[in-house]
């Protein structure tokens, strides 16, 4: 059976209000349960691309999510289907308590309070933060904030999850924990990151953006093995080699 196409982007271009072109003629297809890494230097348009996936930004071209075109009138449904985890959890967690933040999405979707409470409990358990409902986001550690931010979209049961630099600002242990938790999520995932190791752990496919254009769309393995491309994209090929070796021993990617 052919897998379902969950994201389809055709000829997407976006200009910032000051005229700067952030995205140029992007085409992309993402299939059901795929995990795809979006890589590229700062200012390549990675975050801008993410914001198009749930209609926060709308450029020229077509974006279709699970067969539904992203337009003004479909926004509510699109945002139910696409959960966006922001780079900075301080932006994502804006409520006085963890419970309010995790419940914000489901309540906006019109769920009843009893089922919202269940969803919140379930989402917090998924990220290993049972009993954190009454805590205030300000008094959490950076890693906990990131995991609560993840819980705020898990509680919405979105079919597509989109991450902007998920391991940014985390220590190695926190980063590993978060990567494991993201790995355990079965949904389709689009992950923007600067960390080759994180991308290799989470994704089998990668796209490379440069100056607003998609320059490569390839498997993670062929990226890690393509020294010239890595250097051209600003990655360290020796590090990529190490990532590849490590994956070989854990038997997940490079064979």
């Amino acid at each position: 059976m052919k897998p379902r196409k969950v994201i389809e982007i055709q000829h997407l271009s976006y200009h910032y209000p000051d005229g700067t072109a952030a995205l140029k003629e992007i085409d992309l297809e993402v299939w059901d349960h795929e995990s795809i890494a979006v890589l590229g230097p700062n200012g390549a348009g990675k975050s801008t691309l993410l914001y198009h996936l749930n209609g926060t930004l709308m450029g020229d071209g077509n974006v279709t999510i699970l067969g539904l075109p992203v337009e003004k009138k479909t926004l509510k449904e699109i945002r139910r289907r696409v959960g966006l985890v922001f780079q900075n959890p301080e932006d994502q967690l804006f409520c006085p308590t963890v419970f309010d933040d995790v419940a914000f999405g489901p309540l906006n979707m019109g769920l009843k309070m009893e089922s919202v409470q269940q969803e919140v409990k379930r989402a917090l358990a998924r990220v290993g933060l049972e009993g954190f409902e009454g805590r205030s986001a300000h008094h959490l550690s950076e890693g906990e904030k990131k995991r609560v931010a993840l819980a705020t979209v898990l509680s919405m049961n979105s079919e597509i999850l989109v991450f902007d630099e998920p391991t940014d600002n985390l220590d190695p242990a926190g980063s590993r924990l978060l990567v494991e938790q993201i790995q355990s999520i079965p949904q389709t995932k689009v992950i923007v990151t600067h960390h080759l190791a994180v991308a290799a752990d989470l994704c089998k496919r990668a796209i490379l953006l440069r100056e607003g254009r998609k320059v490569e769309d390839l498997t993670m393995e062929s990226l890690l093995r393509n020294g010239a491309l890595l250097v051209e994209s600003g990655f360290d090929p020796d590090f990529a080699q190490w990532v590849c070796e490590r994956k070989k021993t854990s038997g997940r990617l490079c064979t």
Binding site: T56, R79, R80, F86, D91, F104, G134
Partner: protein, 255 residues
């Protein structure tokens, strides 16, 4: 990073802390109204109010020394009132003091006014300190919400609670960055730097506001914040509320 708390001791485990926020808001605000509306000469009523407040503090296991320290915030206001006393109407002389430049006399009505301000502000601030020390800020907001405070007001309060700490952290970071690069200089130069910092702070907050709005939109925000307040009004709350009729009775009888 230093953690700032608005609601010290609100996590203590005591019967007062467990009461519904609504009951506490009603009782403490009523006690303030009773105190403020009484005659300055109703010493017995003031004594009873103080006794009630101290008993509540003891039941709530709050350190009295800490509470006393917090009452100090009203000192500047008291000082302002006491400064103006010599210039009040002099019906009956209450006393006088000589500053060397000619005597200043203090009228009795002036002293009454000072006493009035001292006792009522002390009791009022003490009540508010008790309220904030026995109720966490998020609970307080929810209590106000359930008491039909306009939504816009409670939403503003909750954003203020969430982001004031982040703003304070940001100020600290900027100050640290400034101090590590500034080696003295003229007063004028310093004020220019502070001007820049205020400007930057405004810009950063503005951008953060935009990102938060995006985060809200991404989780289905459509212009109204969902209500999450749930509360219980049991026997404990009713008993605590009895303080209101008792003190209204005292107020009527004792003036």
């Amino acid at each position: 990073m230093k953690h700032a708390f608005l609601d010290h001791h609100s996590g203590v485990d005591s019967s007062i802390h467990h009461l519904d926020a609504r009951a506490k808001i009603i009782v403490f605000v009523s006690l303030i109204l009773v105190g403020v509306s009484s005659q300055p000469s109703s010493f017995l009523l003031f004594g009873l109010l103080a006794l009630a407040l101290i008993s509540i503090a003891l039941i709530a296991k709050l350190p009295l020394g800490h509470l006393a320290k917090k009452i100090v915030v009203i000192l500047p206001f008291l000082l302002l009132v006491s400064l103006s006393i010599p210039f009040m109407k002099k019906e009956t002389l209450g006393g006088g003091y000589n500053l060397g430049l000619g005597g200043l006399s203090v009228s009795q009505s002036g002293l009454w006014i000072l006493w009035n301000v001292i006792v009522k502000s002390c009791l009022g601030v003490f009540s508010m300190i008790l309220l904030s020390s026995t109720t966490s800020f998020p609970e307080l907001i929810k209590g106000l919400e359930r008491l039909r405070t306009p939504r816009i007001f409670t939403i503003l309060l909750s954003f203020m609670y969430r982001y004031s700490f982040i703003l304070i952290d940001e100020i600290h970071r900027m100050k640290r960055a400034r101090d590590s690069r500034s080696f003295g200089g003229k007063w004028l130069w310093h004020s220019k730097v502070i001007g820049h910092m205020v400007g930057w702070l405004f810009l950063r907050s503005f951008r953060r506001g935009e990102r938060i709005y995006l985060a809200m939109l991404s989780r289905g925000y459509q212009g109204t914040m969902p209500e999450t307040a749930v509360g219980r009004f049991g026997r404990g709350e009713l008993i605590f509320l009895l303080l209101v009729p008792v003190f209204v009775f005292f107020r009527v009888c004792l003036g």
